[in-house]
Symmetry: C2
Amino acid sequence: MGEHTVSSFDQDLEHIDKLIREMSDLAASMVRDAIRALLHTDAAAAQRIISEDAVMDAKQREIDDSAITLIAKRQPMAQDLRAVLGAIRMAGDLERIGDLAKNVAKRVGAVGEGSTPRGLSHGIDDMATLVLAQIKGVIAAYAARKPEDLRTLRVDDEKIDLKYTSVFRELLTYMMEDPRNITACTHLLFCAKNLERIGDHMTNIAENAYYVLTGSQLPANRPKQDETATTVLAE
Amino acid sequence: MGEHTVSSFDQDLEHIDKLIREMSDLAASMVRDAIRALLHTDAAAAQRIISEDAVMDAKQREIDDSAITLIAKRQPMAQDLRAVLGAIRMAGDLERIGDLAKNVAKRVGAVGEGSTPRGLSHGIDDMATLVLAQIKGVIAAYAARKPEDLRTLRVDDEKIDLKYTSVFRELLTYMMEDPRNITACTHLLFCAKNLERIGDHMTNIAENAYYVLTGSQLPANRPKQDETATTVLAE
């Protein structure tokens, strides 16, 4: 932790870290369960995930309150202040991941009513696998205080973006082949987009976690590989 | 500003407010220009908006730095600290609005290559009008320090959500009618979704602005009116 040895400040920050790890674990299980509910049209599981979002919101508020108390009580210097703000930001990104998992869960019914081609499930499942590996990797690197791992993990978001681009193209193709696929595929498109956004939030978290651990910023933004905004299929 | 009269703290917060107003103005013009570029297939304007996003990012960093300096220098009490954190959050939401406007601008080419039915332009244009009114209203209420206006404005996000639901249904219908519409309509769907998300960010901003001005939270979340996650069209 740099210049100061174990202090009350570090102990307070450790409490916030613990809350962040709890939010991270919940975020990972919400994403995993939401994709599972989506691919198996499990309405009961979807409902459970939707209700878990309130737990995420409550934990974020707890982190915010702890952070405010910590700053007011300890009056930390600029560098330590930044670490606390980094923690507040991480909690903000985790809360957004909970929202995005909830949004996938909400689409379970609408996708289930259509006919979902097998191949599409695979693409989304592959994206989810990459996203979950990213969440677990970042949590583990942060818990083990390994900033170099965070630097490496940040680059992995490219794989998610590339997979998203291929799922996007596949979904458009299915829609063009048969208009009966359009409703389900549109909802799957938003689910895939949500997974891609979860990847972006994990990139933010990796960057903030690196900052909290080291006090330094990771070098400038990695290039974005999501090319779907300019994707046009031959018609 | 509650219990304390004009102080150095208030002057520093005023500087942050000024930066937030600048970000708000830029966010409003980016959204307006992005929708205009989309509806007129104006690639040059789109490119300009994409480059403006860097200005937003720089202003957000400036607000973050000013906020850290303010906290470290003035060591404010809990209530004032919350106001500063509220300002940091407002800057975060404005930065995301810049990202979303940039994402609309990036889709200008992909939409332009398809055939965009007239009716759809109207729906998206109407959404943009509501979103811009929301941005301007919230900026004005914050600048004039009128928290009650912020409370009223927050409710207006429902109108954006309802419009989004109708644009969503319309876009699905066009896709089903003619597969040649699918690519352009998919990109328009994401543009409409981006506008809906901008509305959500403005809701966050209204809530944080209210907090910064009054020191109190607005009552519990208004209900969400975006019903598209469960929208299924008869096929």
